[in-house]
C-alpha cells in the first residue's frame, strides 16, 4: 500500500469500541457463563449418577462379576440374583415392539408426508404425536383394563389356534405377559418414530422427488427409490431412539408383563424387563437384593447410553451424506 495515500489519518474513522449499554454487555457475559455452567452441570450430573449407581451396585458387582449378565434366576429367599432373565425380557419386548413399530411408523410417516389430503396432514400428525403424550402409567392402566383381556381372551387364543406350531405362539394364553408388553411398547414408540420419519420425508428436497417423477416413476417407485434411500440413516436413528425409549420403560411394562421369571419362547408367558424388575422390587428390597437391582440399573444405563450414542453417530453420518459425502 502506498504511504502517501495512508499518511493522512481520517478524522471520521469509525469508533470500534463498544457503544452498547453496559447492561447489554453484562447480559452477553452472563448468557455465556450461564450456558457454559448448564452444560457443565449436565455433564457433572451424568457422571454423578453413573458413579452413584455403580457405587451402590458394587456389592453385587464384586460378588457376581460379569457372570451376573449370563446367569438366570432371581431368588430373594435364597439371596441369589442374576440378570439374564431380564436382559432377555428387555431384548425380546424391545426388539419385537420395534419390529412392529418400524414398518407402521414408516407407513404413517409416508402417509402424512406424501399421501394424506393436505388439509388433514397436520391434524392427523398432531393426533399421532398426542399419543406420545399419554403418561405411561395411564397407558399401562389401559393395558390392564382393555388390551390385556383382549390379548388373553381373543388374540392369543386365535394365534394359538392358527399359528400354535410356532413356539412363539405356544403355551397358555394370559391376560398379562410378554405379548401385551410388546403391544404397549409398540404404542409408545410409534408416535416417536413416525413423527421423526414424517419430518425426514418432508425434508427430502422437492427437486429430488421431481427428478424421480420426471423420469416416469410412480409415487411408490419414487418413495422406494429416492425417499427411503435418502432418509435411510435418519430412519435408522429414529428407530434406535425408539429402542432407547422401549428398553427404559418401566411403569407400563410392570403393569402388563406379569412379573415372571425364566426364558421362554412363548410370547404368552409372563416376564420382566430390567426396568420393570427394578420398579417392582426396589421399594421392599434390602441388602444384596438392593445391590443387585441397582446392578440391573447399571446395565440399563450402559445400554441406554450406547444406544443413544449409536443414534447420534448414525445421525451424523446422515447429515454427512446429505451434504455431499458419497
Amino acid at each position: 500500500m502506498s504511504a502517501r495515500v495512508s499518511a493522512v489519518p481520517s478524522t471520521t474513522a469509525p469508533s470500534l469500541s463498544s457503544r452498547r449499554r453496559l447492561g447489554d454487555r453484562l447480559g452477553d457475559g452472563a448468557l455465556h457463563g450461564l450456558t457454559a455452567a448448564a452444560a457443565a452441570a449436565a455433564a457433572a450430573l451424568l457422571i454423578a449418577i453413573a458413579w452413584k449407581i455403580f457405587d451402590v451396585a458394587h456389592p453385587a458387582i464384586s460378588k457376581y462379576g460379569f457372570g451376573f449378565l449370563t446367569h438366570q434366576g432371581w431368588d430373594v429367599a435364597r439371596n441369589k440374583f442374576a440378570a439374564l432373565d431380564f436382559i432377555w425380557g428387555t431384548a425380546v419386548t424391545s426388539f419385537a415392539a420395534l419390529l412392529i413399530a418400524t414398518p407402521v411408523s414408516i407407513a404413517i410417516g409416508l402417509y402424512l408426508s406424501e399421501l394424506a389430503p393436505r388439509g388433514a396432514r397436520t391434524v392427523i400428525a398432531s393426533l399421532v404425536e398426542l399419543l406420545a403424550a399419554i403418561p405411561s402409567v395411564v397407558l399401562g392402566l389401559w393395558g390392564i383394563l382393555v388390551l390385556g383381556p383382549f390379548v388373553g381372551q381373543d388374540l392369543e387364543p386365535w394365534l394359538h389356534r392358527h399359528l400354535g406350531f410356532i413356539p412363539l405362539f405356544s403355551g397358555t394364553p394370559e391376560n398379562a405377559g410378554i405379548l401385551v408388553a410388546i403391544l404397549v411398547l409398540t404404542i409408545m414408540v410409534v408416535p416417536i418414530i413416525s413423527s421423526i420419519c414424517r419430518e425426514l420425508f418432508v425434508g427430502v428436497p422437492t427437486e429430488l422427488e421431481e427428478g424421480a417423477l420426471a423420469l416416469g416413476a410412480t409415487r411408490w417407485e419414487m418413495v422406494r427409490g429416492v425417499i427411503l434411500p435418502y432418509t435411510r440413516s435418519g430412519v435408522a436413528a429414529a428407530v434406535i431412539l425408539g429402542f432407547g425409549r422401549a428398553i427404559g420403560e418401566a411403569i407400563a411394562v410392570t403393569q402388563v408383563m406379569g412379573a415372571g421369571h425364566g426364558i421362554h419362547w412363548s410370547l404368552f408367558a409372563t416376564g420382566d424387563t430390567l426396568a420393570s424388575r427394578i420398579a417392582e422390587q426396589y421399594a421392599g428390597a434390602a441388602g444384596l437384593q438392593v445391590a443387585s437391582l441397582v446392578y440391573l440399573a447399571a446395565i440399563l444405563l450402559v445400554i441406554s447410553l450406547l444406544v443413544n450414542l449409536a443414534a447420534r453417530l448414525i445421525e451424523r453420518r446422515f447429515t454427512y451424506q446429505r451434504t455431499g459425502g458419497s
Binding site: 427437486e207 429430488l208 422427488e209 420426471a214 423420469l215 416416469g216 427409490g225 435418502y230
Partner: protein, 283 residues
C-alpha cells in the same frame, strides 16, 4: 374431466392459427397447446397460450422473470400436477392427444416427456445408479451397461466418469452433475426433453458443453429449453417463443407475445415488446 366440460373447453378461442414457419414446415408438431392457462390458486401465472412445438427442433422459451416460462414448461409433462394449487385450463395436445384429457396417466406422460431442472438434482446414489435408476424403474433392464454408457456418451460425460461410475454423484462438479441429469433423462429414451434453465448455474465452459450437447441431441429428441440467456437461445434454438408479463389491476400474468424462427425473433421481431426485450431495452 367429464364429457360435458370437455365440450365447453374444446372450442376455447383458437387464436389465429400462425402459419408454420420455414424451419418448421413439413415437420410434425409434437405439442400443440390451445388456450392453455395455468393458475396458482386464483391468479393465472400464464394465460391463453397457443403454441406448436415441432419435432427434432430446439425450441427456446425466453422472457422476463416471472412471466411463466417454467410454469408453461412444466405444464407440458404434467409436472404441475405436483403443486396442489396449480390448475390447468385449456388443452395440451401431444401427438394429437390431450394430455389433460380423460384417462391420461401422468406417469405415462412423463415417461415420454423427460425434464432437466435448473438446479442439478442427481440422486444420492452412484453415477452409475443415477442413470440406471430410471431404466430399472421402467423395466429397461436389458443391456443396462451399454444403455448407461450410451446415455453418458450422448451427454458428453462418459470420458470424464468412466473410471468412477461407482462413485457418488455428489462428487461431480455442478456442470458434470447437470450433464448426468441429462444422461439420466435421455437414458430412458424419451421423445421430448424439457430443460428449465439447465445452464444457469454453470460456468461458461460447462454451459457451452451443454449447448453443444443440445445440437447433438436434437437429431434424436425434441428439445424445449427455457433460458434467460439471449445468446444461448440464439445459439441453440431453431424456434424461439417470447413470453412477457402482462400487467393487470390484480397483478399480472404471462402471455405469449411472439413465436417464430430464432433469427427472426432476434433480428426482425414483429412485436415492439419482443424487440425491446431482445435488444435489452426491457426491464
Amino acid at each position: 374431466m367429464d364429457a360435458d366440460t370437455m365440450q365447453t373447453v374444446a372450442p376455447i378461442e383458437i387464436a389465429q392459427p400462425r402459419e408454420a414457419p420455414l424451419s418448421a414446415s413439413g415437420r410434425e408438431a409434437v405439442f400443440v397447446t390451445r388456450g392453455l392457462t395455468v393458475s396458482y390458486g386464483k391468479a393465472p401465472a400464464v394465460s391463453n397460450v397457443d403454441l406448436s412445438i415441432y419435432r427434432n427442433l430446439v425450441t427456446a422459451i425466453i422472457g422476463p422473470s416471472g412471466c411463466g416460462k417454467s410454469t408453461f414448461l412444466r405444464s407440458l409433462n404434467r409436472m404441475n400436477d405436483l403443486i396442489p394449487a396449480a390448475k390447468v385450463e385449456g388443452e395440451v395436445h401431444y401427438h394429437g392427444q390431450n394430455i389433460y384429457g380423460d384417462g391420461v396417466d401422468p406417469v405415462e406422460v412423463r415417461r415420454r416427456i423427460g425434464m432437466v431442472f435448473q438446479k442439478p438434482n442427481p440422486f444420492p446414489k452412484s453415477i452409475y445408479d443415477n442413470v440406471a435408476w430410471g431404466l430399472r424403474v421402467l423395466g429397461m433392464k436389458d443391456d443396462l451397461d451399454s444403455r448407461i454408457e450410451r446415455a453418458l456418451t450422448q451427454a458428453a460425460l462418459w470420458d470424464e466418469v468412466k473410471d468412477r461410475l461407482k462413485k457418488g454423484a455428489f462428487g461431480l462438479s455442478g456442470g458434470q452433475q447437470q450433464r448426468l441429469c441429462i444422461a439420466r433423462a435421455i437414458a430412458v429414451e424419451p421423445d421430448v426433453v424439457l430443460l428449465d434453465e439447465p445452464a444457469s448455474a454453470l460456468d461458461p465452459i460447462a454451459t457451452s458443453k451443454i449447448e453443444d450437447l443440445m445440437h447433438e441431441l436434437k437429431n434424436e429428441y425434441t428439445l424445449v429449453i427455457v433460458t434467460h440467456n439471449m445468446q444461448q437461445a440464439a445459439r441453440v434454438a431453431d424456434m424461439t417463443a417470447f413470453f412477457t408479463l402482462e400487467r393487470t389491476e390484480s397483478g399480472g400474468h404471462g402471455v405469449l407475445v411472439e413465436y417464430d424462427e430464432t433469427p427472426k425473433i432476434f433480428t426482425q421481431p414483429s412485436d415492439k415488446r419482443t424487440e425491446g426485450y431482445v435488444t435489452g431495452r426491457f426491464g
